[in-house]
Amino acid sequence: MTKLTEFRTLSPVIHELPPDPGRGMRVPARVFADGELLEQIAADNSLEQLVNVTTLPGIADAACGMPDMHEGYGFPVGGVAGTRAPDGVISPGGIGFDINCGVRLLRSELTEAELEPIKEPLVHEISRTIPSGYGRRGRWALEAATLERVLTEGCPFLIRERGLGSIEDLELIESGGCMAGADAEAVSERAKHRGHDQLGTLGGGNHFLELQVVEAVLDEEAASCLGLRAGQITVLIHTGSRGLGHQVCVDAVRTMDRAMARYGITVPDRQLACAPLSSPEGQSYFGAMTAAANFAWCNRQVITERVRDVFERFAPRPDAKELHLVYDVGHNTARLEKFDGETLCVHRKGATRALGPSAAELPARYRSSGQPVFIPGSMGTSSYVLVGTDAAAELSLASTCHGAGRALSRKAAKRKTTGSEVRKQLAARGIVVRCPSNAELAEEAPLAYKAVEEVVRVVHEAGLARRVARLRPLGVIKG
């Protein structure tokens, strides 16, 4: 059992457990948290899970835990690990079942006062337009050839050939909305079947779409660079690769679980099943995972276009019809990235890449600010906009947190509140809610999560990202 007392405090918000070969640790376990968050993290099995990650063959630097870390399966949620390419391992459990689940932020020219009279019908119309809920199907069933192109070519295909978005959108999506190396043939027929009619759907669980107002600007210069100002209405979309991504992960865990013995790999938790990136199993999964990541970006792109259509119909003035993309960034991915000249396969499971201003692949407009990062709060609480720092490359493999992080299990949340109570509380604060299930509303209640302010304060103080703006919710569509 990993104890907090074993960790060395490197700063008030950085703690490290040195590698212990007796436990099979190859690198340190590094956690970013203040005392209070660290206590919360230690209350479940996430520290143990982070230590397990340090045993992965080929792991470099450290296994990092973000301040929103909580117990997952295999990897903790909020865990980051880079393995040396080409022979270090890739572990599907280090990306998760919802491949490239992520967040995108859109900015409008509307003000809160202008939104108020149309808020209820606008939220209502968006909820009618975008299917949400578990296993829900979309309005667009893709033919096999079209799905193949979505998987292989990602957003450039949707935008350039199907007109679903503007060319400007492309540079504002991580990796231009298409990760290199996608292999549609490595995606099983089952995964394709699950995904073929789910493009443009939110899904369930903690996925949501939120209308917000920029409540406070915390860094004027960076906010201006991102096109954000106080009082402005924004739209935040949080969803992923739906059933397609889930099936890709199921298939890969199964394959790698059976392959590990062949490569002489043992893991302390079977859900960490992995194979060398260079192996046929590793290459096949990387190709399929990348294709699923492209699917997730396309999913958020289709949803964006539907929201844009609704905005255009509801906008009270002609120059407030447009919604501009601020950025789109995933938090369940593995990417090949260079650190000190070495290529690492960086697994981020519930963690966001946060590139600093000097990163070459940032769009030109963000080279003075750093990459935008969006940290949604729990439902009904504020979300934060941050930007990446150059320092994060060394501290956390250019990674930061992804949300508030669960503090209570879904069951515990339902013991403490009910869906109708949550509805009342949100309504009392002027927040319009659309969610078909009272149970799910209770499961995602703010009291089930850590305080997002604290999580964001820690990443700011640790130097992983800088706070730019705070967004207050006005309307929530929950999957």
Binding site: G419, P436, A439
Partner: protein
């Protein structure tokens, strides 16, 4: 002894299974998943204006559905994970609540089963997958026990 129950887990859903036989354990796993997929009618609240939901209601009655499952795995832990993942996939594919299982054969490494149930327009499938994390299958004098974490 509850044949199946759901236990606390911060982020996911832990399923506890109990039965006098290994076959019973697999059957209970299917029943537990069917309960999730069917949803708790009391937990659903109709929101005005959801066209698809209204259309689903208008379609009314559920119809019977059945499917055959054949699995091979290196050991019984993997077999249970595969079984649950197969049921998750089949439920989503068919919009089906599979709560009846006729196990044709079951060994440590393979199973053949017929699953039966009903289709539903109100499919509730919060479970993304079954995981190996913390998976335990134990055979005690009191019977078979298992715990499996489901990603939700």
């Amino acid at each position: 002894m509850a044949p199946y129950s759901f236990r606390e887990h911060t982020g996911e859903l832990k399923l506890r299974l109990e039965s006098t036989t290994l076959e019973g354990l697999f059957v209970e796993a299917a029943r537990a998943l069917a309960e999730i997929v069917a949803g708790d009618p009391g937990s659903w609240e109709q929101e005005a204006g959801s066209q698809e939901q209204e259309a689903a209601d208008a379609m009314g009655g559920d119809t019977a559905t059945a499917s055959e499952v054949r699995l091979e795995a290196p050991d019984r832990d993997a077999l249970l994970v595969d079984w649950l993942n197969e049921l998750i996939y089949t439920s989503e594919r068919d919009k089906g609540v599979y709560d009846q299982v006729s196990m044709k054969s079951l060994s440590e490494q393979s199973l053949v089963a017929e699953i039966r149930g009903r289709t539903t327009e109100r499919l509730c499938l919060p479970v993304k997958a079954a995981t190996f994390h913390g998976l335990r299958i134990e055979h005690a004098p009191s019977g078979w026990h298992a715990e499996v974490v489901l990603d939700v």
